[in-house]
Symmetry: C2
């Protein structure tokens, strides 16, 4: 007998009926009106729409203050002030990295996020302690969400001798990718920074994800250098640029040329939608063959207090910011927050189909565009066949 039957649900393609779930996967789609199959458990879907699992391609689990007392934002607007302010605040937090990261993962789970890529600071002050905390959080939520970790040199590499070794140790200690950031702005050494990042990735057979906030021609230069190294080392498909704001303000011909360069090199882009900066030309990048996906970035943390970790709301915000109004655009925004993110994270593309992981959420919406337009609460969340969220919140496993 199958494990579970979720009755009375709908799909974006018009299907109405139920999902038979066994061993964490969808075993059958049963059309409404057909006899309900026998299962150990039946869940009433109340006619809600099932949407595929969400994917958050850019988080900072180690920085969050989720689940604990509010801390008023203290840093000045410059990136270096935020880096330094963190170092003052962190020793005073009386909750561990594991506690805080777990609380934020719980927010993700409640919103129907199945996969997360998080950056974790690796620096001289903290060593690998934050990585250890996030690894513990990841382990404590295994079976509810999968977590991929980028060893992130938030304070720079070349300006902090010793960090390169820490990054190398991090990817031998549980980190899945090597990170980097703004090689001109932070290290003031694009060659040294990128050579180091790519050398570790190449040596340890890992992927790369580099924060690139650098504006204008500065950012385009760094992006070009990232593409060059990706091609030279044959790392295509394993390299991501986070943000890439420089693409948003570039003139159209440069946007197209860089989109071609990124597509040929196999360099993807993850976005949170831009906020104050110009949004990268997401549709253009996608049309040129660049793997584009989305993430929430800072959520209730020492860098930014705003956010709730909801990737469906992120899709809404991307639409609002990028001026997406047509159904095709709303669907594209959803893909940025689901399928495209899964492709980037090397996960099976979320789908509600026979044989796929039974990872989905139920929402009150007509179809995917309507779900993106209003990001209704996740009434129920299943992860690999198990109920992990209800009413927008994680539900602990039954004892």
């Amino acid at each position: 007998m199958a494990d579970c039957f979720v009755a009375n649900v709908r799909l974006d393609d018009g299907f109405a009926g139920g999902f038979l779930i066994d061993k964490g996967r969808i075993a059958a789609l049963v059309t409404a009106g057909a006899p309900a199959p026998h299962a150990k458990q039946t869940i009433d879907g109340h006619g809600l729409l099932a949407i595929p699992a969400l994917v958050d391609g850019h988080m900072h689990l180690d920085k969050t203050l989720a689940g604990g007392p509010w801390l008023a934002h203290q840093a000045e607007p410059q990136r270096m002030s935020r880096i330094e302010t963190d170092k003052k605040i962190w020793p005073m937090l009386n909750r561990s990295v594991e506690q805080r990261a777990t609380a934020l993962l719980d927010w993700c789970i409640g919103h129907g996020t199945a996969h997360v890529r998080t950056h974790v600071d690796v620096d001289l002050e903290g060593g690998l302690s934050k990585l250890e905390g996030v690894l513990a959080a990841k382990a404590s939520r295994a079976g509810e969400v999968t977590v991929e970790i980028v060893a992130f040199p938030q304070s720079g590499i070349m300006r902090c001798p010793g960090v390169a070794d820490l990054l190398d140790r991090a990817v031998q200690s549980g980190a899945d990718l090597v990170g980097g950031l703004d090689p001109l702005e932070i290290d003031r050494d694009v060659k040294g920074h990128l050579d180091t990042v790519f050398e570790i990735a190449d040596h340890r057979a890992k992927g790369v994800d580099i924060h690139l906030h650098e504006p204008g021609e500065m950012g385009l230069h760094s992006l070009d250098q990232i593409c060059e190294r990706t091609t030279a080392l044959g790392l295509g498909g394993k390299v991501t640029v986070s943000h890439g704001f420089c693409l948003g303000s570039a003139p159209p011909d440069k946007q197209k040329a860089m989109a071609d360069r990124m597509a040929k090199a196999g360099v993807g882009l993850v976005t949170h939608g831009g906020a104050v900066w110009a949004v990268p030309p997401l549709e253009l990048l996608h049309e040129h063959g660049v793997l584009v996906f989305a993430g929430n970035d800072d959520v209730r943390d020492t860098w930014n207090p705003i956010g709730n970790a909801d990737m469906l709301e992120r899709a809404t915000m991307i639409c609002w910011r990028a001026d997406y109004r047509r159904d095709t655009q709303l669907r594209f925004a959803f893909e940025l927050c689901s399928g495209h993110g899964a492709r980037a994270l090397g996960q099976p593309v979320p789908a509600i189909a026979v044989g796929a992981d039974a990872s989905f959420a139920l929402v009150e919406a007509e179809h995917i565009p309507a779900a993106v337009a209003g990001h209704p609460r996740r009434e129920l969340v299943l992860h690999r066949g198990r109920v992990v969220g209800r009413d927008g919140k994680r539900v602990p496993a039954a004892a």
Copy 2:
């Protein structure tokens, strides 16, 4: 005996206890631990935070598709295409203005919005029919939300002879303000358009609210002309500019000069936070004495499918877009969506204090900044002492 006691709630200032409510107003704040007063009804607040009522300063109740079937967005990006597309779509909608406007008001009520200013199209094709529909919706939700109506010449005035008379009739038929839009871009006659709008407002002793999307120097010129007429007619405090995107892209010295001019003239500004356009300098305008407030603008409508009418989420989006991170800024964003909007609409400023309207919502948050950061669901909404919303949705009055 008082009507109601809402027990076990908190306020932003640290108060913990209950609110005694009588005849729609707050009769007493009762500190936790004090004996619970007698009341006809007691509601358990479950330790939630009470936030003052929200105010939506810019809606289009007549354009919405809320509550009905999804309609894929059809218009081209230009404003004129959206105006013309509406005229093709509207005759085919099989739900009345009243039905659609009521459905959107219900979304507002469920999110804790107590006051709405809506624009209603007045044009040659529809005459005053949309005004009549919105007036009916307003009447059907009296006691749950107050609605202020702007007679809005969406298709222009000078290019559509007869609209001026319709606007004049509209404000004699239930509209509270005279609207206008983009006098250079739509009517190509800033003098004719503004003279007409202000003459009707002056003659009928009404306020003015003018959509101004015009960019750059074009918009600044129109804004200057609006200030001039406001001063000349002594309409200070009764005139609003909607959007004012031109302010967002102006150089700082022009922003400051225009802020001074608006403050002296008594011209306010309502914003949705900018989306694709530069956000007007909201803090600077406020510091210069301009009444700045916020609204959702299009919600699930023929102009834009995005949105859910939640003004607390609008506060979040404004923070994200304007890069507000400090507590003072998060509080300012809340005021844009509550107190400042009430000032603009001539309503009592929402407050949870003895003598004030018992209009508030309960949310799971530490204080106002935390509520803005994550815009949690409204667990319970009271309007003038009556429960009107629960779990983010309107609840019809008990029979």
